[in-house]
């Protein structure tokens, strides 16, 4: 499960990620982080079985938690299958199928949003645009 965490000026100062790991023994993988002095955002990956438990710890500290269930969406009406997104995506979500159509393996998506700013057809979007 991917979680988008939003920290405010209070929560940003606390070691919440390590607290959550110590309390739940869940392994938390930080995929993206943008941490400033007064607020921050983070995308973390947690095993599905531990997700609820971890979320509870985050919420107890006052961190806003959004479950990222919907990955990048490709609008098939707009896409012309050029493949410009293929070399841009850091985790190789996009590839050509045997007919040279661009397909997206969206379960790999880490919600970085880079592809949405690259697509010349404006065919890619993130339901919750983070960071």
């Amino acid at each position: 499960m991917l979680l988008l965490l939003k920290f405010d000026s209070k929560t940003i100062k606390k070691p919440i990620i390590s607290t959550a790991t110590l309390e739940t023994k869940a392994l938390i993988n930080i995929l993206r982080a943008n941490v400033g002095a007064r607020r921050g955002e983070m995308v973390v990956e947690v095993d599905d079985s531990k997700a609820k438990e971890v979320e509870e710890v985050f919420r107890r500290f006052g961190v806003e938690v959004i479950e990222l269930k919907d990955a990048v969406v490709k609008d098939e009406e707009k896409c012309v299958h050029c493949g410009l997104c293929i070399s841009i995506c850091p985790v190789e979500v996009f590839r050509f199928d045997e007919n040279w159509k661009v397909v997206a393996d969206t379960e790999k998506c880490i919600h970085c949003g880079v592809c949405t700013r690259v697509c010349p057809c404006n065919a890619l979007s993130l339901p919750i645009h983070s960071l």
Binding site: V80, H81, C82, G83, L84, C85, I86, S87, I88, E92, F96, N99, W100, K101, V102, R117, V118, P120, C121, N122
Partner: protein, 494 residues
């Protein structure tokens, strides 16, 4: 044995013509050999689908009452060129909207018209005795135009230089987004199925050749601008009113602008063995170069030679590292184009033509003739440099005495290690940090080279929001300074 276009057209009429796509032809020649393939196959259809910036549409709007001689004209706020007769105009695909900027342009207007939408037509004029009207605003659709003829000065590039980026920042180019430090490669063109790669000697493609242009029947009207085989190009025309929305697409290259992807298909009559051989060309025989967009000059350095087979594999090697590759053209749509053209010929809806004139098989792309290019060397001033162990107090004295704002910090060999500005010094004094300049200097210095054009230096200053650049040689020894004041003085002189 030789065939003629008339014989092939008779077969099309009788419904017994053998048409294959360029993709199928490679296999056929491999299997049967050139001689047999030339006997069996009558027509090979080729296709491409990619961004073709040098495209646009001539329109005639009909006369208003009272009539107007348009001096300026806009369609959905995108300006078209009307320096021709009263109500004729040419709308280019890359022209941007005056109100919406980069998100909407000429290509979108054309797409809207073909899609059946109405667009706003607005015109201004100075008014004459014969054309008294000075202003006009109305709504028009494609069917309201007397003519809407797509005329594209440069389309269907035979092959194109691929792009990469050695610099340390993301570049937004007409070749797409290029990641820093050779992060990716992009390329345009469809390689072995592209029209001109299948007839590199221009034996069958010439002036008057009937083609598939965005779903309509179009014609080759000459070689394209910048035609320089093997980077050959075509000038084409076609009736916009017959075009189909699925074979054209208005796009926005982020940070660059608007352009249009067009579908072009060209039938190649297999008149003899030699033409059969040329249509058997494979991607591994089509060579181009990867060039470095990290260098903002006309003559960008070649990183390496590469074949379309390597580019299409999705990965190429640069400096021993594997780099991922993205196409800019749609191979999927190009295949659709050649399959559609094949169907049209088989159904007897599309006949071939004999060119009335050959297209040159040679050409050279000349650079622009310019008055001397101004380079940094000609405007740079002497740099006042200091060693890293200079005290803040001493630095502030130098700044006031020499009347400068920037002090490049250099080591004992004159090599740049940092820079301090009058602002850095003022800040250090204000916060009571009265140590050495090495404590407060900026270490990652943006620099210029003596032979860099001044436009490039000005762009760096704008990009990084700074007002001066140390000018350094290849070993990063400081040769001088170029400041925004030097550049503005230069402008004042012009």
């Amino acid at each position: 044995m030789k065939k003629t276009i008339e014989e092939i057209n008779r077969k099309i009429e009788e419904g017994c013509v053998c048409v294959v796509t360029a993709e199928e032809m490679k296999e056929i020649v491999e299997e049967l050999g050139e001689e047999k393939a030339a006997k069996e196959v009558d027509v090979v259809t080729t296709g491409t689908f990619g961004a073709m910036c040098s495209s646009g549409v001539f329109m005639n709007f009909g006369h208003s009452d009272p009539p107007i001689k348009m001096q300026r004209v806009w369609l959905n706020d995108v300006e078209a060129y009307t320096g021709i007769a009263a109500v004729d105009a040419y709308l280019g695909v890359t022209q941007l909207s005056e109100s919406r900027g980069m998100e909407y342009g000429g290509a979108h207007v054309i797409e809207d018209l073909v899609g059946g939408k109405e667009v706003e037509l607005r015109a201004e004029a100075y008014g004459t005795d014969c054309y008294p009207r000075k202003k006009l605003v109305t709504e028009i659709a494609l069917e309201d135009l007397n003519q809407a003829v797509m005329v594209n000065p440069r389309n269907a590039y035979q092959r194109y230089k691929a792009a990469t980026n050695s610099s340390d920042r993301i570049l937004r180019t007409y070749m797409g987004t290029l990641l820093p430090n050779f992060g990716n490669v992009t390329f345009a063109g469809c390689g072995e199925i592209s029209p001109l790669n299948n007839d590199p000697e221009y034996r069958t493609i010439g002036i008057g050749t009937r083609i598939f242009l965005c779903g309509a029947k179009g014609y080759v009207i000459g070689e394209g601008t910048q035609h320089a085989p093997p980077f050959g190009t075509l000038m084409v025309k076609g009736d916009l009113k017959e075009m189909k929305p699925e074979f054209m697409k208005a796009i926005v290259m982020p940070g660059y602008g608007v352009t249009m992807m067009l579908g072009i298909g060209i039938p190649i009559p297999i008149l003899d063995e030699e033409i059969a051989r040329s249509t058997a060309i494979r991607d591994d025989q089509i060579v181009t170069e990867i060039i470095d967009f990290g260098v903002p000059r006309r003559d960008r350095p070649v990183v390496r030679k590469v074949t379309y087979a390597e580019l299409k594999s999705g990965k190429v090697e640069i400096n021993g590292e594997e780099v991922r590759v993205s196409p800019l053209s749609s191979y999927y749509m190009a295949k659709k184009v050649m399959e559609e053209l094949k169907r049209m010929i088989e159904r007897g809806e599309f006949f071939l033509t004999q060119p009335v004139e050959r297209i040159p098989t040679k050409g050279k792309l000349k650079p622009m003739r310019e008055k001397g290019i101004k380079v940094v060397k000609s405007v740079m001033t002497k740099a006042v440099t200091i060693p890293p162990d200079t005290s803040i107090e001493e630095a502030s004295r130098i700044i006031t005495q020499k009347n400068v704002n920037h002090l490049p910090v250099v080591d004992e060999n004159g090599v740049l290690v940092g820079i301090v500005t009058s602002w850095d010094i003022a800040k250090a004094v204000a916060t009571g940090k009265l140590g050495r300049v090495s404590d407060v200097m900026t270490r990652k210095v943006i620099t210029a080279t003596p032979d860099e054009p001044i436009e490039s230096a000005a762009r760096k200053m704008e990009q990084y929001n700074i007002s001066a650049l140390p000018v350094v040689d290849a070993k990063r020894r400081v040769l001088g300074m170029v400041t925004s004041e030097d550049l503005s003085k230069l402008l004042a002189r012009w």
